[in-house]
Symmetry: C2
Subunit: 568 residues, 2 copies
């Protein structure tokens, strides 16, 4: 069918595919809620109003109808599953469109990873738009699987599913006029430019915005968000699994400024998506806290579509896609039915229809470590060592200096003081690089945990009590082609294969969630008391978040932005 | 200077070109008004806030600062002057950006006309964005100077100053799926599509919007506007010289829906622009009628920029163009100073600086009529004739049937009954076509009036008491290469040359206004009592507005959409 057919249905000359009768339309454009019929044909809303007939007709009996929700910024990789499985998790929650920055997989596989995400989302049930990853790798103090410069991104500028340039995390670089950053900004100047500038303020913030950056999702306080909003940044309020900014930012929202505010999740783990939801969770929370449902719905749909120039999304009107939610209640925002392109895809929180077979995509293996013996031994070069100090529920760390436990001339893990050996094994290029250090707070009494998820370079991180356990863990992950492992000596106690780039499982999200839960349970048996040691470990290599981190090149003093010796 | 310099100024590393201190910034993004400094460098706002120093610094002493105003839809040709002169008229009123549909000149000169407008605006003081004219010619019942199909418009799709497709006036064609219309819509589907669908409603309106049309400036009632806004059309409230829709539409505007509303002027004559202004006039009127100044300013700037995707216009924030107004008072919205690109261009209602010399543009002559004797005689073929009946202050007409005055076997003008001969002389292709008819209401007791402005085909219209006067008038216009003329027998009483396409003068707008006023005065001496007989005449050939009109092919019954014989 084409536009000719849609116009015929809009005129009423032919019966439409579907007429939803007697819905209370939440018209986010006019700011009104009123009873009308919604006429759908060929994936689109073609008309609003009475007097149409449909091949199918559904009486909504006065239930509310809203646009499908839009996540303004999400890293799908954080769900540990492929885009179709992520879609199965969020569609029942009413999220019909996401704007994703695939920078995790891009750090491993470069453009090949980005293409994987696009291909896996294509012809799927969720509208997945992509922002081209702007900071791959994050810094030069790591070895990543790929490097994306402006020329690499050029083919994406006019890609139909690419909306712009993803979060410009090198915010000092942008404000200072770094050539590589400005090249990328110039390349995407007609498109959307997303920001990421935690705590940036004053002159430097002015410069960052003057460079053309249009949004910010890192605000944690009203004062920070207000300064940024006044300077013209669209504020994406974020409610991720660990980064929970919604409640502190609710006082920012007013009727006068809300059109410059959107909602996003950034990073959510499977259990969170399944149990609590996504943007719908934010709407429920905001409305429960007293935000007018019309404003909340706009921030979860219309505003985001406008920000990204998505003409056919975010509102229900002739010519827009028929992505819509049916709800009995706006106060407790739980979609009873979810339509995508005029097709019912979820009902009562469950997907309708079978899980589709995924098309074959050939992807190279990404765990590429040297075949020789791994050596995690640390010859003592002094008595005091720098130790990464974990902070509960935070991705920032402390920069500690501690007495080393030295045995036979080698620095080793000290269970009593909970100072464990931490290694970052380069896994992209078989360079043999192994960054070695120590970390406090994981509490293992025996064994090791390891994973190929380690933001943003995603080298192979392993924390252990003894070298044998650490080697077993690394070998287990290499065997799986990536994933998470938990071992004790020579025995692998639990594993979660993540064969896609070492980041994603191809299993259903429910299965991944179950495996992940049992991994955390197993870690408790080894002594760990964190709610999620694998996620904590995955951030211990992220050298753009303070204070002390470990990459395959060694310890990084984030505040001084330089590599450091282990021994003081 | 480049972005590197702007970032340096934003950081405060170098002195900015200009710092406006202590302005009450009307922040249309956040919906707040507060005291701040505005830092300008290299045409852009680079920072908001304290602590900057400038090469020049101006203390605004608490005066208000707003974005420059934007006219969402204007035919510059209606000002009878070239874009630089139009700019001189509107800039002192605070209009720094216009979105224009050059369909008058496009009907005469096709793409050459459109290029003329772009060239004349280039490097000028006013930001002139163009919408590609979608309906040239308006119908097939006329001879225009050009025909623009989708293929002709294709080179404009990615033109940096072209924003989309101009008002889709063939609204039944769009709703019915006319191939030519759908071709053009498909061509511009990534850009903005402006509408024009007076009184369209219900199913046909749904189809029109479903085709992708995004705006409407023809609304005359709140009910009409509300229906269209709810369907997703951005409503351009229009206040033209003759089409005054602002007052009737003010009750439409609410805080909840105003972001889908913009202001436009469509058509304004020189006297109106000079004496009353443009979008500023609309703001004053709206605010005087009780609209919140913040909403009014948004409708006159920010909303329009967002609608058209003009990222650097419509708000004052880092990275935006420094197009801004300084005002002592928001209630009586009269810009004291107008900055464009950080440069003061107007002050106290007057342009600052000299009128610039225009660059040479070679344009072909457009009055191209057959060299032989003109024949306006009408041999009587019956006793009753169809007569165009003018309606005071309207562009619609009555379809009258009257007894013809017949002398020597020819139908002639009848002064006593005010039924005058009306001819439309094809002037583009020297085809020799002359449409002949009669018109009631012009009141001439002697002589003739003529003009090469006749919407939308712009053939040569002439209304006269006797054939000699009519011939003199047509020859006078041919001699000028287009324009307006007022004659009596063999004597030309007054003339206004419009050598550019027969539509525009190259003189200063003040001179054109004075000449135009004296033409109207002269018409009064011949017996006409209309406030503007030339404008009325210019709409008597527009065969898309009911009921009876005259083109070079003859009388048109607009309601039946067909050509008619003069004699009943």
């Amino acid at each position: 069918m084409t536009i000719v057919d849609r116009l015929a249905a809009a005129r009423g000359d032919v019966a439409a595919d579907l007429v939803l009768r007697n819905g209370q339309l939440v018209n986010v454009i006019s700011g009104e809620i009123y009873l009308t019929d919604i006429v759908i044909h060929d994936r689109h809303v073609v008309a609003l109003g009475k007097g149409y007939s449909g091949v199918r007709e559904v009486d909504l009996a006065g239930k509310y109808v809203t646009p499908g929700l839009i996540d303004a910024h999400v890293h799908i990789e954080s769900s540990l599953v492929t885009p179709p499985e992520f879609a199965r998790a969020v569609l029942p929650h009413g999220v019909t469109t996401v704007v994703t920055d695939p920078h995790e997989i891009a750090n491993v596989l470069g453009l090949e990873g980005l293409r994987y995400m696009l291909e896996r989302a294509k012809h799927g049930l969720l509208n997945m738009y992509v922002m081209a990853s702007s900071c791959v790798p994050a810094t030069d103090m790591e070895t990543s699987g790929a490097r994306l410069e402006a020329d690499d991104l050029a083919p994406l500028v006019d890609h139909p599913w690419v909306l712009g340039l993803a979060e410009l995390m090198n915010y000092p670089g942008v404000a200072l006029g770094d050539e590589g950053m400005l090249d990328k900004i110039a390349l995407f100047k007609q498109r959307v430019l997303d920001g990421h500038a935690p705590d940036m303020t004053g002159n430097m913030l002015n410069a960052y915005v003057a460079a053309g950056v249009q949004s910010e999702h890192e605000c944690t306080s009203v004062a920070e968000a207000r300064e940024k909003l006044r300077l013209g940044m669209t504020i994406f309020i974020r409610e991720g699994t660990t980064t929970r900014n919604l409640k502190p930012l609710l006082p920012l929202i007013t009727a006068e400024n809300h059109s410059a505010i959107c909602f996003c999740t950034d990073d959510r783990i499977p259990a969170d998506l399944i149990d609590h939801g996504s943007i719908d969770y934010m709407l429920r929370s905001a409305i429960a806290a007293g935000i007018d449902p019309m404003l909340a719905i706009r921030m979860g749909s219309y505003n985001t579509a406008r920000h990204f120039g998505l003409k056919k999304h975010g509102a229900l009107a002739p010519g827009k896609y028929a992505d819509l939610l049916v709800l009995p209640d706006l106060q407790d925002f739980r979609p009873e039915q979810v339509y995508r392109g005029g097709v019912l895809v979820a009902q009562e929180g469950e997907m309708v229809g079978e899980r589709r077979e995924s098309r074959r995509i050939d992807l190279r293996s990404t765990v590429n470590i040297q075949s020789g013996e791994l050596d995690f031994s640390i010859r003592a070069k002094g008595e005091e060592i720098r130790v990464i100090g974990t902070v509960p529920d935070q991705v920032v760390t402390e920069h500690l200096v501690q007495q080393a436990k030295i045995v036979d001339g080698f620095a080793v893990s000290d269970i009593e003081r909970d100072i464990l050996k931490f290694a970052m094994v380069e896994r992209h290029r078989a360079s043999g690089n192994i960054g070695l250090g120590f970390i406090k707070g994981f509490g293992l009494r025996r064994g090791a945990i390891a994973g190929s998820v380690a933001h943003d370079h995603h080298n192979l991180a392993v924390i252990g009590v003894d070298d044998e356990s650490m080697k077993t863990a690394v070998r287990a992950i290499a065997e799986m082609g990536g994933g998470l492992a938990l071992v004790d000596g020579a025995a692998v106690l639990a594993r979660l294969p993540l064969p896609v780039a070492g980041l994603l499982s191809e299993l259903p999200i429910e299965a991944v969630r179950a495996q992940y839960d049992s991994m955390i349970e197993a870690a408790r048996e080894l002594g760990n008391r964190m709610s999620d040691p694998f996620m904590v470990m995955s951030f211990m290599g992220l050298e753009v978040i303070p204070k002390l981190k470990l990459t395959d090149l060694g310890l990084v003093d984030v505040e001084k932005f330089q590599l450091l010796e282990l021994f003081v």
